[in-house]
């Protein structure tokens, strides 16, 4: 074992990421299949059945308009719940002790889990994208914006899932945030409509919702239309990533929920 510290760290990190990816593939009927089915239903019901009556939105068919938002919704939900359930169950089964005892710095533990959650988010995102191609044609106007926005959003929500799992003391507590915060914010985050349809007051309220920025920036990458300036979206998401990373590291270093 004469590798340098950097090599050892790299091996530890990639081991952790491999373990995380192996985990969600092993339980694919719980992790990959359900979002694929749900999102397909969204395409059929909202896009096809109802969408044909709605007509255009933002200059696109309703189906085209909602596809980016639905992909984004799948990505952030899955990134979040992957880390939340994996990290919580590591605490619950105590195998988190393997990582605490091992010579791995905390930032790598965090990075490993976040990378695993991001991988699941993107994996589901790709599947939903492929499904959407059965229903509509997908132009991609700005490939770099599309890809960087989806990756950054996945990272941000993976971080959120990590913090949730640190505080959680039961499995119920890791579904609380997705049910009562994430889902409502996503639905109100412009997945299904342009906020220009709302009265001015609600437009302004919507601007407080961070998910609105991600959905719109992602839609801008694909379709070239957005309710908000894309630069604002990147700034906000980067700011949140920095904040949540610092907070997660602070909690890890303190050993909150992990060490006596």
């Amino acid at each position: 074992m004469n590798q340098t510290r950097r090599q050892r760290h790299w091996i530890a990190f990639s081991t952790l990421v491999t373990r995380e990816i192996r985990r969600f593939f092993r339980i694919w009927p719980q992790t990959i299949l359900p979002p694929a089915i749900t999102m397909t239903l969204y395409f059929i019901i909202f896009g096809n059945l109802i969408g044909s009556r709605i007509g255009e939105m933002g200059g696109f068919s309703y189906m085209e308009y909602i596809v980016p938002g639905i992909i984004m919704m799948a990505v952030i939900n899955n990134a979040y719940s992957n880390v939340a359930s994996s990290f919580f169950s590591a605490k619950f089964q105590n195998h988190i002790e393997e990582l605490i005892v091992a010579p791995i710095p905390n930032y790598l533990i965090l990075a490993g889990y976040v990378a695993g959650g991001t991988a699941r988010g993107l994996c589901v995102g790709v599947i939903v994208t492929l499904v959407s191609l059965f229903f509509t044609h997908l132009p991609i106007e700005h490939i770099a914006i599309t890809i960087s926005m989806v990756i950054l959003s996945a990272i941000l929500f993976a971080l959120g899932g990590f913090i949730n799992a640190i505080y959680a003391r039961s499995f119920d507590e890791i579904s609380l945030v997705p049910t009562f915060i994430l889902t409502p914010l996503t639905y109100l985050g412009g997945v299904f409509y342009s906020i220009s349809l709302l009265p001015e007051f609600w437009q302004n309220v919507s601007l407080l919702n961070p998910i609105l920025y991600m959905v719109n920036a992602f839609r801008f990458g694909m379709l070239g239309v957005s309710d908000i300036p894309v630069v604002a979206a990147f700034s906000i998401i980067l700011l949140f990533i920095v904040l949540l990373t610092s907070f997660a590291l602070y909690l890890l270093n303190k050993g909150t929920g992990l060490r006596n």
């Binding site: 074992m1 590798q3 510290r5 090599q7 050892r8 760290h9 091996i11 530890a12 990639s14 081991t15 952790l16 491999t18 373990r19 192996r22 985990r23 092993r26 339980i27 169950s89 590591a90 089964q93 105590n94 195998h95 002790e97 393997e98 990582l99 605490i100 005892v101 091992a102 010579p103 791995i104 710095p105 050993g255 060490r259 006596n260």
Partner: protein, 307 residues
Amino acid sequence: MKALSINNLSKTYGNGFKALEQISLDVEQGDFFALLGPNGAGKSTTIGVVTSLITKTSGTVNVFDTDLDENAELAKSYIGLVPQEFNFNGFEQVKHILITQAGYYGMPASDAEPRANELLKQLGLWEKRHTPSRALSGGMKRRLMIARALVHKPKLLILDEPTAGVDIELRRSMWTFLRRINKEGTTIILTTHYLEEAENLCRNIAIIDKGEIVENTDMKSLLNRLDKETFVLDLKYPLLQTIELYGLDYHHVDDTTIEVELSRGDSLNSIFELLSKHGVEVVSMKNKVNRLEELFLNLVETTEQAS
């Protein structure tokens, strides 16, 4: 060199309970060391602090001269831990658990694979290598914990009650295995509440009770000391001169009280004979049980109950 050096270590839990009070302990490289104590003595707390699972309140821990506070990564890399409770990912396969563990310690896959196979064979888990860990029997889980602790070739192996709840046959085979890897150079620290286990395996021993080290010595002297019994004799008249009790150890507590030490099983008649020869009259006698003996008696009882 010292494999482990603990200095004035204290731990107060969040609820205010003082689990360790200023304990100090040294374990030499190559030693086979027992930390013996009844349930609740503070053994797991000590191990927890040494392995970073528990945050200490004060004191220092050095592993092979590396301070855990100053260079945790290096100190951690020396240690392999077999915890008291199973802590596997129950859904992961046996072999994946070992390879993943090796990876955490920075071992490249090309080394981890043969190392995992070697340990799986040595510990009789080869047939089960593709089984999820939760489907193993209790004894197999114990062995898997040992394999996992050894996969990165630690210099110091720490086992927290490795044979609790293990049947006699498996216990013996674990002892043989541990003796062998100790002979091959791994320093071993083991906690137990079976005196028999410590006696069988270990060269040096510390006894811990209520968060304090009550004894820290080599196994032989401990057994010699435990082999002695002390009696307190109250005398009718003050004994002012020194008398010859033919090799029996005695000392004065005060003028009319002496303490005599006897090997366990020796006849008491001889003392009385000698004393009456010197004209010393004994009014009463009681058996003095010190804390160590008391502990020892408890430990022997639990051992007997368990087997």
